[in-house]
Symmetry: C2
Subunit: 339 residues, 2 copies
Amino acid sequence: MKLSERKKKILSAVVDESIKTAEPVSSNDVHSKYLSEFSPATIRNELMALEEMGFLSQPHTSSGRVPTAEGYQMYVNELMDIKKLSKKEADNLKESFDTKLFNLDDVLQKAAKTISDATNYASVVYYGITGGAVVENILLIKLSQNNTLVVVVTDLGVIKEETSAITSTEDDLRQASKILTKMFKGKKLEEVEHSENLITKELARYKQIFDYILHLITERDEHNSVAVSGKDKLLNYPEYQDVYKLKHTMNLLDQKDKLSMVMSEVPEVEFSIKVGGDENLGITDCSIVTTTYKSRGKPIGSLGVVGPVRMDYGKVVSILKNVTKLLEDNQFFKEDKDE
Amino acid sequence: MKLSERKKKILSAVVDESIKTAEPVSSNDVHSKYLSEFSPATIRNELMALEEMGFLSQPHTSSGRVPTAEGYQMYVNELMDIKKLSKKEADNLKESFDTKLFNLDDVLQKAAKTISDATNYASVVYYGITGGAVVENILLIKLSQNNTLVVVVTDLGVIKEETSAITSTEDDLRQASKILTKMFKGKKLEEVEHSENLITKELARYKQIFDYILHLITERDEHNSVAVSGKDKLLNYPEYQDVYKLKHTMNLLDQKDKLSMVMSEVPEVEFSIKVGGDENLGITDCSIVTTTYKSRGKPIGSLGVVGPVRMDYGKVVSILKNVTKLLEDNQFFKEDKDE
DNA sequence: TGTTAGCACTCGAGAGGGTCGACTGCTAAA
DNA sequence: TTTAGCAGTCGACCCTCTCGAGTGCTAACA
């Protein structure tokens, strides 16, 4: 569907104004605030055409126009200009995303919070598209009689948890740590996950520990690979004054498995922008913008923003671009690590 | 203010019905659902008297009655019967509050989630009324070139965090760990917090590490001692269909410092029930039920529930009682620890 | 042929008015 | 002291009317 230059300008104007005011946009609004070179009557004719094409709709006969999902989609695909962040905004982002963290979950959570604070929408950060992390070390540390701290160090950071399930002696722990590290060093997490049949004779003693580590890695893969932040921010938008819709979108943000499905798709283009949700997944009344981040040239996870359909896509895309860069420059995702 | 037996029964009925239906209660409701031994006219007379006393109010002249904050307060102070949980409910609680965790933050978070899930309101768990935790061990573990895991083990569990700030050698770390453990073993966290002047000659080398541990302990005291769970549950109550009120209460649950103030008060009675919020702190449109939990006979923290004024106080109190018990029976809070 | 002024038309928002009925307060009898 | 009876109140709901923002159409204009 080809659009004339003028139609593009007018559609852009309507979308921009919609994003700003959350109200239907009249021909006069477009004329006075965006395109004074065309008279309201001309604009009206174009609006009619754009409505016919499915990009705009009227809440009722004598009201202004509102973009349809298709209208927004056209906007983000072809019309939108991505605002580059000002130096100050970029610096703020950088500062807030302090990269000193060395725990994968913490890094994800921090990235999510940074995005949410910068965009003022809810955000989702996902890790695990191809599970890029490689085991470097497995530590077992006795904390007290019944508690052992298990630390799995990977090249992408630390996964850890303490437990009371392991009651071995310190000597045993040291021994087990050595064997396990030797066994798994250099392997990807999902390789570890599927190595139940690897219990050798020498490892049989440490079956309890082995099982725990499998459990730890599996569990984190299933549950802990999605960080969500800023759900409450949705409260501020007029489209979510309707508590019913609010609940719908908030519920989505609580369903880690559904989020995983959305976030693990790797789009062909840099950004996937699902305007109005995803029919197949039963997601409505919101838009989802996602992009992937890489380590060693391969996508290993994704960043996303969830907000009203009337989202400031230009700003969101720009912020996601920045945070992707910050994340990829993080000591653990960078290709040329100084080790 | 003394109430006749009959007035007590009627006020109880009005409050119970209000909690159930969230609608004004008529004399007929009370008569038909609670007290058929009195005629509606009699009940009307009593309702008038109770209104005069300030326990009830009418949204408008010809409507039923709604309890005032004072009405609820009277109810919780003198009239309410605390439902004992059924065996099954108690078992469910116990099961969901699995005590295998050995990290203070995790335990608090788990307790908060247990309470929120059981009550269907938002919950807050606070630690630090008198800071009961005593240092047992300080571990410094090299994870990679730039990353050291710092673990502070106390008798109440683990406080830990990893950092890239410490770049000492493994030998140094081992040494520092020994010195620090010796120095702080048996001390309370707040004693550690105020020991900046303790840098001895032998410790001077490890100033970086020392500073980090102080930072770690101080920070957790300031920020990480409040666990909140179930904010979203508030969405389900009719009083929060008004997004403005919802925001107000959700904001409260985000302000950790304000929550700390509320949660660190040790009430004289077992339960503090603030009906309608707290004027001094600017908290309105919600009720807060709190109780303290103990370790070694001393209160060290508190559990709380935040919900609409029309809260099922009886159920909440009962659940809090149960969780307090579960928490105090946790391996780390128990007096007779098997160490 | 594309653009624009003029104008009749549409429809939601908001105000005003009327009915209904739930529930009250009062009165007077039991 | 309790209760039946009843008039009175007021919100909820519905209908109607008015107002005006914004449209679509037509005819004139560049």
